[in-house]
Symmetry: C2
Subunit: 248 residues, 2 copies
């Protein structure tokens, strides 16, 4: 039986200020929670689940952190509308850092505001083996529930740093910086690269004006139809795919 | 002043059965509504807007279909949380058809359930100049408000047909059918094509088993990290981009 204070605590974690205060985040749904526990990237605080989830994952669940609940209780603490079995609380990473930038592809995100976009970009980066993502401080928080959900448990596989992006770029002047823009060289030019920084800008405004002078290669994903722009996550996916092929 | 019956009518259009009954759909937000009116692909039934929207677009707005409302009224009929100026109702296309399949790339969508994914795929197809999309009947409806929103007004630029996908494929046996799968030839193989059908499967189940025997070329977007799969819209984006380059 869930106490009122536990229900209130879990519900409060939908807000960033309480996530920050307690240094935790919430994940939901069988697949995402199951995978996050399996990957073991974040320390578990508590799992609230139906017995159906418990019997599937009990080998991996620390007994003292599991709370069996019923469907009515789950409904009170869950936010997903789809059939659901579990809500889990994990501790946030205590250290935020990126590492081994040289000789690899690093993703730079400037002011990505849509949680679904950020989550999908993290998942895509993970798929293509990108280890490091540097986010401007204005990007949506990586522990936002919608981000967590759309990463599909890739959150723990990628190093993510929130920082002053302009200063960070200036500290890495020797790695070629390519940015997705609506002008510049065509992405079809397949020059080989041994390392790269790939910059994706805001959903409606593109790359911040302060960052434009720092870009070595503006790159255009050439369009042929009537759409005015590509979705930011789609642009990121195509850019990463293209550079992943060029990497030597 | 909006009457109760008008408010009730607009609210009812959030449900598919009422959209079907009245053969209309709803769009929201300055950019999407403005672009849909500009593209003129769907006949307008009515626009409910603040004066700020009216003064921006009045040249294009048929006087007798515009209803100026205040912010309180907008809040009652709108579903977007972001700053908003307008809700518009358009008539659905009366004819659903695809045309000129030969010599071009056609997208086939099998059981895409997430409205954001479908909308993003339509927008991406439009960006790359794809004119035809064939959807299985189990795909989410193209007039779902979240689909409309995420197409960013590309909805009117692409022919979209909902049909029995298996039968449709069997009627087009001579166009090579490529499908995004987790096996098969690597997408990196850049054989030129003069036309192609590109098949994207369901978000969690992939391509339906009844369609697999019809696929000529299963194609894999090779992963290098730990993610189990790519988001369906990202896979579609990369596949379309790659084939758009191969087209001769």
């Amino acid at each position: 039986m869930l106490s009122k204070s536990v229900i209130k605590y879990i519900q409060s974690l939908q807000q960033k200020k309480f996530r920050d205060e307690h240094k935790v985040f919430v994940a939901e749904g069988t697949k995402v929670v199951g995978d996050l526990i399996k990957h073991n990237a974040f320390q578990l605080q508590a799992v609230y689940c139906l017995s159906s989830f418990y019997f599937k994952y009990k080998e991996m669940l620390p007994e003292d952190q599991v709370h069996l609940i019923n469907e009515q209780e789950l409904e009170k603490i869950a936010h997903l509308h789809t059939p659901n079995e579990v809500v889990a609380i994990f501790y946030q990473c205590s250290v935020q850092q990126v590492k081994e930038i040289s000789g690899s592809i690093t993703l730079l995100l400037d002011d990505i505001r849509d949680p679904g976009n950020l989550g999908t970009i993290i998942r895509t980066a993970d798929w293509f083996g990108i280890k490091n993502i540097v986010c401007s401080k204005s990007c949506v928080e990586m522990y936002n529930p919608k981000v967590v959900q759309s990463t599909m448990a890739s959150l723990g596989n990628v190093n993510i740093l929130y920082t002053n992006l302009e200063e960070w770029i200036k500290q890495h002047p020797n790695i070629p910086l390519y940015a997705a823009t609506l002008y510049g060289e065509s992405l079809n030019e397949k020059t080989a690269v041994k390392e790269a920084l790939l910059l994706i800008g805001n959903e409606s405004k593109g790359i911040s004006s302060s960052l434009i002078p720092l870009v070595h290669h503006p790159v255009m994903i050439k369009g042929f139809g009537n759409a005015e722009s590509l979705n930011a996550a789609i642009a990121a996916g195509i850019l990463i795919y293209s550079f992943q092929q060029r990497l030597i």
